[in-house]
Symmetry: D2
């Protein structure tokens, strides 16, 4: 049986900055603590939400260590270690393993469009350098590569590539994975607006930044699916779709920071060129959050 340490709601923390745009580690730890307390089933620092590619190597290492220290084994930690070059990806994957991560997440970041063989060699090189499992992550919108289902199948033949996260927004990809690879393949949904469709299709988990704002709704949706109660799942999903669509449309780091502030939390600062939501956008988000509180 393959090593699959994640299921349910896997929360993406943001990486908060101080007014000088330096990583604010104490605030990051507070935000991680808040996520762990909310009852989510896993945590995934240094994802897109955590603006991984905007950080220096030292900052990545500090965030990795802070996550694992703060989580302290209460829930498993999935560390993002994607990098344009293979060597740097190996470096960060090894660092994460040593720091105590339960798994690493890797998207084949692409400036030059990679061939399938280049992608397989990239994963293979990293996989053979560590012993913890890898979640391969497909998100053409941010990574610039769209890994075909056939390629994902090849990646799963690498022993410690045991999980797939699909963020294309096309639920048919999940159908293909399940059909081709059987019920054993663990696939995760990374496209917030597809949360219901993905669970209906059999997704093992949902990696989401929304858990920073509405963890109880995210978790309740997962539980309804576990209880085989489609009608309840549908109701819960429609309660959160507006928020899910909003945070995706505005960019997760910007939207989560604004949402935390609206909830009375410290959302920290962003790193340029990313800028805060406009006043109008913030007002829209506020009205969505107020509606949610009333339900």
């Amino acid at each position: 049986m393959k090593n699959v340490p994640f299921k349910g709601i896997i929360a993406y923390p943001i990486t908060p900055f101080d007014p000088q745009e330096k990583v604010d580690l104490p605030l990051f730890k507070q935000q991680v603590e808040r996520l762990v307390s909310s009852g989510v089933h896993g945590i995934a620092p240094l994802g897109s939400t955590g603006v991984l590619p905007y950080l220096t190597d030292e900052e990545k290492e500090a965030v990795t260590e802070a996550s694992i220290q703060q989580t302290a084994g209460r829930i498993p930690t999935l560390v993002g270690v994607s990098n344009l070059t293979t060597d740097k990806t190996v470096y960060h994957a090894q660092f994460a393993e040593k720091a105590g991560a339960n798994a690493v997440m890797i998207i084949p970041m692409s400036y030059w469009k990679l061939t399938d063989d280049e992608i397989v060699q990239h994963y293979d090189k990293v996989a053979s350098s560590i012993s913890i499992p890898i979640m391969a992550y497909n998100n053409p919108a941010t990574g610039g590569v769209d890994m075909s289902p056939a390629l994902l199948k090849r990646l799963l033949e690498i022993p410690n590539v045991t999980m797939i996260k699909e963020s294309t927004g096309d639920v048919q990809r999940m159908h293909y994975l399940r059909n081709e690879l059987g019920e054993d393949v663990a696939f995760y949904n990374g496209s917030n607006p597809l949360a219901l469709a993905a669970f209906a299709a059999g997704a093992t988990g949902w990696c989401t930044a929304a858990a920073n704002l509405i963890p109880e709704l995210n978790i309740a949706l997962y539980n309804a699916v576990q209880q085989n109660d489609l009608n309840k799942a549908r109701d819960l999903f429609y309660q959160q779709t507006e928020l899910l669509q909003f945070i995706v449309a505005k960019g997760l780091p910007r939207a989560i920071k604004a949402g935390l502030n609206l909830l009375g939390q410290n959302g920290g600062h962003l790193r340029s060129p990313l800028k805060p939501l406009t006043a109008e956008e913030t007002a829209t988000l506020e009205s969505i959050l107020i509606k949610l509180k009333r339900q």
Copy 2:
């Protein structure tokens, strides 16, 4: 309460031709009878599967009458009356109503890209010329226009536009419709590979050509959803996804004709330029059907 005469599995018959490429009405009636006997909940002649735009006015009228006569009220009939010009659409909609159709389906066919106002005026003109309800149909791949959710909302303000069929393949459109228009809006899925996701999202029905080949599986999926049994629905869906993907990829008229032949039925001929599946494609379809019979 709006007039919504359809739910469940709504089957698209093909329009079969004889060897001289004339419409084969006796064969069409046999195929309709077979669909009615299979237990589907409605029938929709002159859809894309029925190659509506390849037929003359007289042929459309003959197929309309043959459908309604053969169905004889056992299940409701939804007649496709889409046409490039508004006048012709009115003409065929009135013909369908007089012939006894329960509703008409209209896609805003577009050679020149229509503005939203032109589309609204088009529907409005047709709607005010008949008294049966209209299903507005969005399918950019065949109709050439992608109606935005905002436009669909405008169309639903026309009193006898009571149903929406979404075939974009993007399940988020259904979420939007439900969110914006409330639980009362009747939306139908026209994208076969999204059957499970659409029912999970609350679709009232599924318009499908697959019912020519696997009506029992289509109906069972609908029933599982009605029984709130997501796990059973998921199993039933994964049994049929391979066939659904195949018939969509190869073009419904070609694939259904070939499938009927493989099931020992008379699939008739196609009208040029459409040609039968190749021998290799037919063999693939045969293997899919054999696998399904074994389950």
Copy 3:
């Protein structure tokens, strides 16, 4: 040597309607006469600009005959005969030949996506039914099919398919045609905003509705290219780009009708669902035409 009866500026007339949306043949003849008098090198009735797919068979025949009568051999006539079915395409191609057309233009209209083999058989059937040459026309935006350069190459192997019109808006297609097929292939540009790039790439002609409004500029651009004067061609092109972009953005039948009216000509009426430009759009067009007159 292949039979290539067209070069230079080939003008698309619109098909004008009367207030009851019937084809207005006397007005059509006036508009054709105006085009012939303007000095264009050819005329192409029943194109997209002429709303071919919105007409009945009888209307198409009447427009064909009216064009050829009015032109009276002063310039060659290229008649659009595209139809969804092969039989109807053959029918109209034969009608055009009998009526005296110099060539026919055929786009593989597609409701169901056609395979390459189906498209080749479609052209082959029509080509063998007539003896005048065929211009194969690629325009995915209106026809729904994007013929690859490799497919266009196959079509050119049919003896009387002697001309290619490219309207994809991608000038690299023309480079491919020239590279693959040598200097002998006659390709025509159907994408107005690419007029300069296409002539630079060696296009034999430019099929354009703009000749209804600015024939002298269209012809002058062609002449500058013939004189190998790139700087003059560039200047002439930049004088007309704003108009070319406008008429494409708004839809040629709508924009040409409005432009004719603004020039003091009778533009006739449109057939629903097509509606006239809004007042604001018409004002924009007017300001573009005024600027052009001043130059």
Copy 4:
């Protein structure tokens, strides 16, 4: 008059690596020397061809200094300084200025899709930190952002943003820039297969990696355009299109390295995950180069 230090053929060197995938500076200098000797009009290190985003800060600095030392003022140098964060972009832009660069090239690299305001602030911050001119570079395929013509216009209002490089592959963008901004705007073509169309449209220069392999043809095309000889320019362009298409299709760093080897030069190694062309691809490139030598 704006400060525009570039025109004609601006060559992109690759960044070669040694067998351990370290930057090979001595080889880089040889390759730069070869470019300068070939007669090109400018040089642009650390572009996409130079795999800028795959390099560490120290490597970027070393390549910048090596370029400027080797060029020694014989032709102007345009240094790529793009970075995901604003701070790092400022840092590298200042470094390039101090090292003696004539201008810097900046593409708004984007992991999270940037708003127009964020992009303007990004450029503004960098521009106000240096005094040499900036070439703003639009290439959605590699940078992930498609800057609209309207946004490019805003950027040109920043005093030292004086040049635009368009690599969308859509020649209409250049028409728009010229129309909107007048004959004074200096725009450059970065899409190899559009070289002829871009010069026809009035491009000031062509930034190309092809100059590593066929500098004489690139320069001859530019000269023919300067001499207003369209026919000669067309002939020269069609001689090189096959090579241009090949190097773009295969990825410039891979294709240029392979081409250098085939020409008897040392192409160095690539940095993983980028891998060399396959044997079959290399054979295709060889046959293209042999054909070119015969002309």
